[in-house]
């Protein structure tokens, strides 16, 4: 009877990432669940919402939570749960598309600026400096007041403004990579520039790009909420969470606090969750950018080392 040794089962990279996320990053896992919930709610809002997002029920205006309206109603009798669910869709669309646009702009500007260098780099970087020197909220408000309010206008503005700022990080990464031997080798054999950028540089900055994307999503969601709160975001009657916090919610804040509590809570939970998820991804994908003393893994390691020291005081 011959015994053949079983080879250890190889996991895919994604499965390995998920395993590490669950075992090493419990807070990140919670964040990932919140992010998935946001995506699920946003995609299936139509089926999940008990009522239409703009259906008024005048006889039930300003009601607290009840069996009929689980989270209560606003001042014109609209179901707050339904509006929150549809609001998740807006946050999801704005968060994902604006972050994607932002990353694309960051990558194009950052790679070109770093790789081409010289006067081109100088001009691009001074432009980036100029944009960064203007308070972002003020800049967004001015631009939106010129082009008008709307979801696509908000996505466009947030994508561009975040993209220009984010290009600084991509540039610094590319400057580090372009001095590597394999890039210089590709140049010396006469590889075209586009090929060097796409085949040699881009793959090496993919991990930071994913991290930048995951960190941009919550900031974009917050910025959209802020703009909508100030009346420069998604116009009514669309149930943007920021917009739901503004307008009549401020008037009826003391009379019917649910109007402000639910969208505020949803916004806080989602931003916190996506942030935690982004942090965890960063720790897993790029250990060089790992967080400091507050990180769960660091605290865990410190505790373990304390226990070991107590058990083996001579070590």
């Amino acid at each position: 009877m011959s015994v053949t040794a079983k080879e250890p089962k190889k996991r895919s990279k994604l499965a390995e990432l998920v395993r590490r996320m669950i075992t090493e990053q419990p807070l990140g896992t919670v964040g990932a669940i919140i992010t998935l919930l946001l995506l699920f709610t946003g995609i299936f809002a139509r089926w999940l919402a008990p009522y239409g997002m703009n259906d008024p029920h005048p006889l039930y205006a300003l009601q607290g939570p009840s069996l009929k309206f689980w989270l209560g109603t606003d001042n014109i009798g609209r179901d707050l749960l339904s509006r929150l669910i549809y609001g998740a869709r807006i946050s999801m669309i704005v968060g994902l598309i604006a972050s994607l646009l932002s990353v694309v702009i960051s990558v194009i500007l950052g790679i070109l600026s770093a790789y081409v260098g010289g006067a081109f780099d100088l001009i691009i970087q001074r432009f980036v400096d100029a944009v960064l020197s203007i308070p972002s909220l003020l800049l967004l408000m001015v631009v939106i007041s010129l082009i008008g309010t709307g979801m696509w206008q908000v996505i466009f503005c947030l994508g561009i403004s975040n993209g220009i700022g984010g290009s600084r990080m991509i540039r610094s990464l590319v400057i580090g990579i372009k001095s590597n031997l394999y890039v210089q080798a590709a140049v010396s054999v006469g590889a075209p520039t586009w090929k060097i950028l796409v085949q040699h540089i881009l793959p090496n900055i993919m991990a930071p790009i994913i991290i930048i994307f995951s960190m941009t999503v919550p900031s974009v969601i917050l910025a959209e909420a802020g703009l909508s709160f100030l009346g420069f975001g998604i116009p009514p009657p669309a149930p943007s969470w920021g917009g739901m916090l503004s307008g009549s919610a401020r008037t009826y804040m003391f009379k019917d606090p649910w109007m402000a509590i639910w969208p505020g809570l949803a916004l806080a939970i989602v931003v916190y969750g996506v942030n935690m998820f982004g942090d965890a991804l960063r720790d897993l994908l790029d250990p060089r950018l790992r967080g400091g003393a507050g990180r769960y893994g660091t605290i865990l390691k410190r505790r373990i080392s304390k226990v070991i020291t107590k058990e083996n005081p001579t070590e």
Partner: protein, 587 residues
């Protein structure tokens, strides 16, 4: 272990505080659907038998959220607010006679609707005692009060002297030439003084609204001021120190961002008869108009008694004030302010069709919108407010107009189909982004008009951009605010005549212009009322505007204010006649 205990304690504390705050929030509130009619009082009036002299009254003005723009009643860049800041010490030519016709007299008029006094209720403690109009030539003759004295002012070297017709001629002439008036006084050719107590206003055409423009509205000239203060070197009349007084008070201090203080004028001519005894006015010795910029501070000031009276408290504060100070007296009244949705009947291809406009009004659930956004009123406030004699209630409207006020989505849908739009159409509603009520109304309309196949998109923009769209008629429908107490003003805004406003959605070739032109020439009060009523009805029936409810105001005052009968207005936001007649009970 210690840290775990502290952490557990903190978590428990946080949970308890969160639960307690949430439990306080579970109180269900229901929408109020009470109807307010003119002069509805929720509490009894507070009167005491014996008047008391002295004390300080702190009263909010309608412009108390910011500093006065100046004190020169003619040349101030914001004459409407300066008129109110100046009213305690500079008497107006005309005003409402609260003693005779108000709640303490015959109760013919409540003096609560802002700005407008029907001509028959004019003539109280003001400078003009009587007037007459002759038509050939057109002359308005004002007979002035005698025995009125200007107070001395050592700052400008002014001695006390009698008030004469020369003062009125000076003020009116100066006011008519002020840059802010535009063409308002184009009906006046000159102002003359045949004697010391008479003023003639010579006109090229009669204007039925003359008393408002010259006597008690907000335009320059109606507040008479002596020349000496205005001609003083430096800031002239803009500086409060250069002002004299012929009113019940003398301005004594102004602290920017804090308050304007007035002390009683010992030479004031006004008197009040109470229980058969004549008393010299004013009763209070000091009047303070505070400057409070935010609503929460104002609520706190009223709750704690720092402010004695605010006739224009936001209605939304009512519940909080009841909770915070149950002894406060609250009175709801109809303000005469209303909003209307203006439909662009000239430029929009769908709205040019009258049957489409009528269908849209029938597709609008006015009762629901009024109850949710302007609770308390079920009657329309536009174009004529309920307090005015020319007002027609819904129940008395012609049947064709009455049916517009009944929500009927089925009939509306049929009308739109019959008009040739079986698949509906799209419109945009323009609103001001800072207005929460406009936003709520627009959101309700999106839902209601969708039921009749009309897709409504909301164009929420800032005030300047909205005004630009309004002026250039680049809108489908737009939310507008109107003060509808003085029928001639909103009617002139509706009608495109060479009058006050010529920016609206009516063409000059309409029947409305003929009706309007006849109305403004009416000299007889009854004819004027009839013509106002007819034009108001025609405008409602034409459906160029979808009118919303007459807005309800909140008058709040402390229980120690006596001899006050809930009046809020004796002219353009003028409360001085009431302030002069009330007294403060010891408290």
């Amino acid at each position: 272990m210690k840290s775990k205990i502290i952490l557990t304690g903190l978590v428990l504390l946080l949970t308890v505080s969160l639960l307690s705050s949430l439990s306080g929030c579970t109180k269900k509130t229901t929408t109020t659907q009470s109807t307010v009619t003119q002069s509805t009082t929720t509490t009894t009036t507070t009167n005491a038998n014996a008047p008391v002299y002295g004390g300080t009254l702190t009263c909010m003005t309608d412009w108390g959220n910011t500093d006065p723009a100046g004190f020169d009643a003619d040349l101030s860049p914001a004459v409407w607010s300066t008129a109110v800041w100046d009213a305690p010490f500079l008497s107006w030519l005309l005003g409402g006679d609260i003693d005779t016709y108000g709640p303490q007299g015959t109760n013919a008029f409540a003096f609560q609707s802002a700005e407008y006094i029907p001509p028959q209720y004019l003539g109280g403690n003001d400078l003009v005692t009587s007037w007459s109009v002759t038509m050939n030539p057109i002359v308005i003759t004002l007979n002035l009060r005698t025995g009125v004295t200007w107070a001395a002012n050592s700052t400008i070297g002014m001695q006390a002297r009698p008030f004469t017709s020369a003062d009125v001629v000076y003020s009116l002439t100066r006011g008519f030439a002020a840059p802010i008036v535009g063409g308002t006084y184009s009906f006046v050719t000159s102002v003359t003084a045949p004697d010391a107590n008479t003023v003639n206003i010579n006109c090229n055409t009669f204007n039925a609204n003359w008393a408002y423009y010259i006597g008690y509205g907000y335009m320059p000239g109606m507040i008479t001021c002596p020349e000496s203060g205005n001609s003083t070197a430096g800031a002239g009349g803009e500086d409060w120190r250069n002002q004299s007084s012929d009113g019940p008070f003398i301005i004594s201090n102004y602290v920017s961002g804090s308050s304007v203080t007035y002390t009683s004028n010992p030479n004031y001519w006004g008197k009040s008869t109470i229980n058969g005894t004549s008393y010299k006015l004013p009763f209070i010795s000091t009047l303070v108009y505070p400057i409070i910029s935010d609503d929460s501070s104002l609520v706190a000031a009223i709750e704690t008694g720092k402010v004695d009276w605010n006739p224009s408290q936001p209605l939304s504060d009512s519940a909080e004030l009841k909770t915070g100070n149950s002894s406060l007296i609250q009175d709801n009244y109809l303000t005469g302010n209303a909003e209307a949705l203006k439909l662009n009947r000239l430029d929009n291809q769908y709205l040019q069709n009258e049957s489409v406009r009528r269908a849209l009004m029938m597709a609008t659930d006015l009762n629901t919108i009024n109850n949710l956004t302007w609770p308390g009123s079920t009657e329309p406030g536009f174009p004529i407010a309920q307090g005015n004699p020319a007002y027609t209630s819904i129940s008395q409207l012609p049947t064709s107009t009455q049916q517009l006020f009944t929500y009927n989505a089925t009939a509306a849908k049929q009308a739109i189909t019959a008009a040739g739009y079986p698949n509906g159409f799209s419109l945009a509603i323009t609103i001001q982004s800072t207005s929460t009520t406009d936003t709520d109304v627009a959101q309700l309309l999106v839902s209601e008009w969708a039921n009749v196949g009309v897709t409504l998109t909301i164009n929420s923009i800032d005030a300047t951009a909205k005004q630009t769209l309004d002026n250039s008629r680049k809108f489908d429908c737009i939310m507008e605010s109107f003060s509808c107490n003085n029928p001639i003003v909103p009617l002139s805004q509706v009608e495109a005549v060479a009058g006050v406003v010529n920016l609206d959605v009516y063409s000059a070739s309409e029947n409305f212009e003929t009706m309007y032109n006849k109305m403004v020439l009416d000299t007889d009060a009854a004819t004027l009322t009839a013509d106002e009523k007819a034009l108001g009805l025609a405008i409602l029936d034409d459906c160029g505007f979808i009118p919303f409810g007459d807005q309800v105001g909140l008058n709040v005052y402390q229980p120690w204010i006596k001899n006050y009968y809930n009046e809020t207005d004796t002219g353009y936001h003028n409360r001085v006649p009431m302030e002069a007649e009330l007294w403060i009970a010891p408290h």
